[in-house]
Symmetry: C2
Subunit: 385 residues, 2 copies
Amino acid sequence: MVNYFSSDFKLGILGGGQLGKMLLYETRKYDVQTYVIDPSEEAPCKIAANYFQTGDLMDYQTVLEFGRKVDVLTFEIEAVNISALKQLESEGIKVFPSSKTLDKIHNKAIQKQFYTDQNIPTAPFKSFASKTEFMNAVNSGEVNLPTVWKSATGGYDGRGVMVLKTKADINEILEGECIAEELVPFKNELAVIVARNPSGEVATYPVVEMEFHPTANQVEYVVCPARIESTVADKARKVAEEVSKAYKHVGLLAVEMFQTKDDEIIVNEVAPRPHNSGHYSIEASYTNQFEQHLRAILDLPLGDTSSKVGGIMVNLSGAENHSGPVKYSNIEKIMKMKGVTPHIYGKKITRPFRKMGHVTIVNEDLAEARKIAQEVKNTIQVISE
Amino acid sequence: MVNYFSSDFKLGILGGGQLGKMLLYETRKYDVQTYVIDPSEEAPCKIAANYFQTGDLMDYQTVLEFGRKVDVLTFEIEAVNISALKQLESEGIKVFPSSKTLDKIHNKAIQKQFYTDQNIPTAPFKSFASKTEFMNAVNSGEVNLPTVWKSATGGYDGRGVMVLKTKADINEILEGECIAEELVPFKNELAVIVARNPSGEVATYPVVEMEFHPTANQVEYVVCPARIESTVADKARKVAEEVSKAYKHVGLLAVEMFQTKDDEIIVNEVAPRPHNSGHYSIEASYTNQFEQHLRAILDLPLGDTSSKVGGIMVNLSGAENHSGPVKYSNIEKIMKMKGVTPHIYGKKITRPFRKMGHVTIVNEDLAEARKIAQEVKNTIQVISE
């Protein structure tokens, strides 16, 4: 086995945001050497990496030269130069997840087509090369409203997704390649994280449930385990494992799914990396998602994915009407509450809805954790001084 | 409240070893700015601190100038220049634990006298200004063998402690101030970590048990919770809380105790910082000892000290007859075992008995964890290539 621990081995990470930062907790724990590149001088990964540099992740030459410095290359964001990854692979550098996997994911039109080809259940869709093509399809009645419009690329954390109810809404959508997805009424939005290593060992995490705000269309809580029937949970884990097999990915694959009104599971989209829906695992799981990603890409044995206790995650997003140097108002109050752990990503400037951190609430009793999570949400505020 | 999170606030840490490194996981999680000083260029804290410098922690001017750069100063090792801490306190810099606390701890003769003055149960002892004075006391019969010899200062992780059975053993002891402690036969060696913040909030962790090797006089496992009667555990926590009150410390205080044959609890010694006996808490507790230390010294609310699951800690020490670049032989095998987490401190060179890391084994069933801990101990080896 390669000696990764306190050795000359070098792991490269494309992207230095909060996902990279939390991955670095694990590389530090194992004393695995890390090289990180991010466009921003202020990247949360700037410290705790052995080597940090700034650079454009979409630039071929930048990614190529960075990748040549390391033994294994991974990423915390999909928006990277895939041609450079292909060149690095051809030069014998291990890239996990591979460019082949990324090819099938980074464009939503291609991703959806892949599910169809692989007989993986997903909502019916049509793809369009441009905003104009899409508008013509709506006007000709080829696409009926309401429909879910998704930008083919650049969609990330809900950006580039809109539910179009009236023709007026269409003016809001972005230019460029896109898809129109049938609006499938669903009971629950679920996610399952699957880990896979080069040796082919596969492990799925318990099903989590995104709990939405009753009125605002926005995820409020990620709940683990999901409060659904075990038959549905088993089905969701099985579907997630099929998706993982289809992609033959290495590392983590976060599979977002819908539980339809008639308890069918259909795949929404995937992310080939640690994921917001897995943050609860740092406090709740035997092996958190970041350690698991590291184990997977280094071809180490996968860890136990089960939970020690119930976990709920609340995102800390910038409050509306607040821009400027960040202040976490009432954070000392939530730290008084049982089983509450705030994670502060380290972004110095807050903006409305900017992801500034998250809070995990763990408890033996999930219902109790859910109650405390509500208090947390009603108490802490991300504002500017 | 002071805004510690993503702010200009600066926390200083004297010492950049493994305790500091694990404390930095928590300062990163809260995005608290850190300044670290350590004698070694190779210190495990060199990365992940916002600012790192080398320097002699026993040098007055070095500690003074370093301390003036920060708002709150703490340490991960007691061997620091206390006069400099006093000067810093007089200049209004917060030093936690305070120089007053450290004064009563850093010298074992003074520490033992303090327990006697405070009516805290401890083994009978006599103190001596020099090795010669001590030898005279043995020869005159003032001290009877067997006795426990302890160097008054510089004792750390068992160094500077010896059980003297015959007069010949005395040749082995070090020069300088020392104490002779009555050899008290005990059932168990226990420890309790107590956290206290400036507001006076106090929290004790569950009692842990050091399990010794049946023949070699060496701790093999730290077991939480200790496998003792609840009445004894309650007594141990109560004694630890009394010690904490007596010291009026701020931060963590690890209280090492003996359970005597007749179930009395007597105090052995204390450490005013995160402690080896609390490493299990990273995986097992709702609030790990490093986060708790940070909460305490920043006068934030203390976290829940209870455990999610049973925890056992095994130290990873350098194997005998191995010196040189470290290799963790069979680490991939122990990573296959349930609930096993290796912590690699990042020291590049191994030496016989050098503390290179630790492994935590967590499980709902403590007996099962203990079984796996044994497998871990029989499997992994810290060798040189």
